[in-house]
Symmetry: C3
Subunit: 402 residues, 3 copies
């Protein structure tokens, strides 16, 4: 057995890993509350509603100094480990900020070659060390299943009445990135609440119904357009799956005709089984039922072509693809519905320019707010996992009794 | 267009960059208060007075546990991003400490090759991401004008009623380093207050006037001697410019006779236009009006020869220069006035030894206190930029009503 | 003089370095309290008792949210510098967590090539910079005597009425690692207190005395077995020395018959001079007085063969050594006394498997708790060094008056 194999030896958990996904979900749950967040399949409508509600409260409390300071006390006795051996500035900073809002002190290990690995410490021993010192582990790793195995180890320790802490999967390989799906969903839900904050509820929806008479609140009954790197984007896969839990969805996928970039069969089948109407095109200018797909879109989700995941073959082939049809030009923005949020998980590619900066000041642009939403909803997740929802409600009510 | 060009594409701000400096200052200001600190030209006497006053209060409050804890609450609902892609341990740690004194939580990005750049995110998108998560951006970059462009972007966002945060330039290329000038000025002002703390005011000045009958409080009417790397030291350039705003200054510049190291014409002209009497020499042993320059010096500012900025040609030429005349030997220290502060922006060079350690215990040595002053005055700057001066005054008054 | 020599020029402290250890201890002490923690020889029984008591209080207060928040205020006006130029994830994180428990804000410099060194700043100037900004320096360095010299510099500054801060040696070269000895001792003391928390005192000891009639509370009068890399493990050396201060100790050392790995003569002599009965073997299966050494062991201390310290010669020779006799198989665990703690400074080697994971759930296993104990006792050390013991007692008494 080679050292590398030893370090990430998950064989003790193989039988747990081999189960179908729905069997696993119980293991990440404690009655009605999450014990760990490992995969997007845990994001059921009821949980999404609860987390969105917590996020809304946190966002509101953060506005004023006094309530903000109260938030900073909420979990100031907790310490988090951000174990990010797969680099990601954005996700990392977003979790840092989320922790800090709640007063959680942050610690980080980011270099994959830590001293412990030189000393041939197994990955599982490293995780257990973290759980000795810290109260929650937020991890991002290129090793598939690593976060899942950590959750199993924590459960095993708990069953032996040993110290155990919640695990959050902040991205594992090309596999799962559940908090991205969470923040995307939260952004969609806020967009489709059609609330104009501080104004009489409903007024904005009423106005929109002049032009779109069938428009309803909430994520159900919408046409979502996903554009770009559909095949390799775990973001698209997770979000589409989460949205497929809501009724009467239409999803349009626009990507280059290349095996690596197109939707894979697994996702298509899964969505169709969930009752989603699925369409695929090779240009943002395509038509469906004789009408521009953009003009039918309630929510546009753009993505970057992930060059860093190219195989040697891909690089050559992809260089020949004309990416023009997958670029959101100002002219194409014009065709979108007047309320349709324009989303992107970011970063965008400043060379390819799938989102040119000219469109940044369009009121439908959500991609910067999306980042900030990620911070709020990750803070909500931490409150939920660390069982502080009740304290949050109490603190909130001290400020806003109305 | 090459990726590198795209990442730092400041063309959107070119017309703003091209303006004369005095036109720009309005953009970094909000009525009487700074909106951003980008260049040393913003350090006008009135602002310097206000920041020094805030720094004095913070310094005093930090002495006792109770008032110190009060300081730690002052901005504990704020989060800072320290974006340092040009390395600088000292400036970085000084800002960290300044934030921590006020309870501001710190976040950092220091590696120039962050994951976002690999994904070809533009520098402006990175900055906007930081402004989504954090409340102030403190940046140090080898790219000239980067901090300035960030300030313009923030102003533009503000005008669009989008989220915008203050930007602090903690060093941009070989260009500007305004907080160094700020801390140098603060050290000079404290030295020339001639207060013996805890004693009857004035007594120290009265004593000194026995030997120096014309001595006055404050930075005006003094002889400053700058020694070492005058040409490339943005520190010297900024500080001299700041001091030139005060009346009746004499400035002596001592550097090797080498184009890279000597004072450039621009600075000389600027100082003379401001009414400063400027003198240049090639040795600390030079005489002016038949008397040693050192014995006429009210404040000595030493600097390190910045080898890391050498061109290939410079390295060879500079190796041949005898640096003896620019070294502050104990014998030379003797010649200084009895009150003359000895300053240095640090680090000093332990090989060249422009400041030999033998002189460290001389009471005129300020270079270690200078570092600590940097921390206080950077904290003052944060209080000012984050609009917490009033809270600071109120907290201060709770402790010291006298 | 070469730059490297200049950077770590300790010649100013040579006469202090050359003194016998007992003469030095006074310098690290201020009456009954530590001023710095530099070497394990400072860990006298009285100090160990005081630190253990503080650690017990901190541990208890950390359990409940309210008392935990009180702890977080205890030193929240203090800032620490963790200067770790010799990598060590575990020690680093443990100190971070210890600081955070007490509200101390952490700063770190971990890269040996910081910008200041490029600028040829001496190591002593770097340390003095840290002491300008921060209130305690926790340092780990590959340079022997570095921490000791820092302590001397701080003392010198103090005698000149300049700013001075406590220094903690978190590992210097292959030389000293006093806080590891501290945490090991604390774990042993807790194990040999035979308290079942929340139960009537003494009951567990009474039960054990049925099988081991001579068993006494505390670290004295015990048989300690150290196994593995005895020669190069500063951990073993320090702990054995600390334990030798207690009466009637027996110590068994089990290591391969190789000069680098065996006990060195210095340690053997030191222990024997302190009255310890010392035995050496080459297998965990050895017998002493006709009986298995394992069955006579009150406390087993396993270690990892430190491959990273191999010389080129060692690597080849060590590869030929059969490590089987130094591996704690489940069968060997069986032979241990029913209460004997199994310790290891961690990380363990996942290839050599001196501690196979099969034994992890044995109730005698202490190696994970040891890590957590390190956090508590390091927090205690910080409270002691920063002179906050009295505040801690007062805070503790507010919660637990009983």
């Amino acid at each position: 057995m080679k050292p590398a194999d030893t370090l990430s030896d998950f064989s003790a958990f193989q039988s747990l890993l081999d189960r179908p996904i729905e069997d696993k979900l119980r293991d990440f749950q404690r009655e009605q509350r999450l014990k760990h967040l490992i995969c997007a399949a845990q994001l059921k409508p009821d949980l999404l509603k609860r987390l969105s509600h917590l996020a809304d409260m946190i966002r509101r409390m953060a506005r004023e100094r006094e309530s903000n300071l109260e938030l900073r006390q909420l979990l100031s006795h907790k310490r988090a480990m951000l174990y990010f051996t797969q680099p990601s500035t954005r996700t990392f900073l977003s979790f840092m900020a989320a922790c800090q809002i709640l007063g959680i002190t942050c610690n980080e290990v980011r270099d994959p070659k830590t001293s412990s690995e030189i000393k041939r410490e197994s990955h599982m021993d490293s995780i257990r060390m973290f759980s000795s010192y810290f109260d929650v582990i937020i991890m991002r790793s290129p090793i598939a299943n690593f976060a899942e195995c950590c959750a199993y180890m924590m459960n095993r320790l708990e069953s032996q009445e040993m110290r155990s802490v919640p695990t959050i999967n902040a991205g594992s390989g090309s596999d799962e990135h559940p908090t991205q799906a969470l923040l995307d969903f939260y952004t969609i839900q806020r967009s489709f609440s059609f609330d104009s904050e501080q104004k009489e509820t409903g007024s904005r929806l009423d106005a929109l119904r002049q032009s779109y008479p069938d428009l309803q609140r909430g994520p159900a009954g919408k046409t979502y357009l996903f554009c770009g790197d559909i095949g390799r984007g775990r973001t698209v896969r997770s979000l589409a799956t989460v949205l497929s839990q809501y009724d009467s969805q239409r999803m349009i996928f626009v990507s280059p005709d290349h095996d690596a970039l197109k939707m894979d069969d697994g996702l298509r089948t899964r969505l169709q089984d969930a009752g989603v109407s699925v369409y695929e095109f090779e240009s943002l200018d395509a038509e469906l039922n004789g009408e521009s797909i953009l003009s039918q879109t309630d929510c546009l989700y753009m993505t970057r072509i992930q060059r860093e995941h190219n195989s040697a073959d891909d690089t050559e082939q992809l260089a020949r693809i004309d990416l023009g049809p997958f670029q959101l030009t100002p002219e194409r923005v014009q065709r979108l519905k007047s309320f349709s949020p324009i989303m992107h998980p970011f970063p965008r590619d400043s060379v390819v320019q799938e989102l040119p900066t000219e469109i940044d000041s369009d009121p439908r642009v959500m991609y910067f707010r999306q980042a900030r939403n990620g911070m709020w909803v990750r803070a909500a997740l931490l409150v939920h996992l660390l069982d502080a929802s009740e304290e949050l409600f109490m603190a909130y009510n001290r400020f806003y009794r109305d």
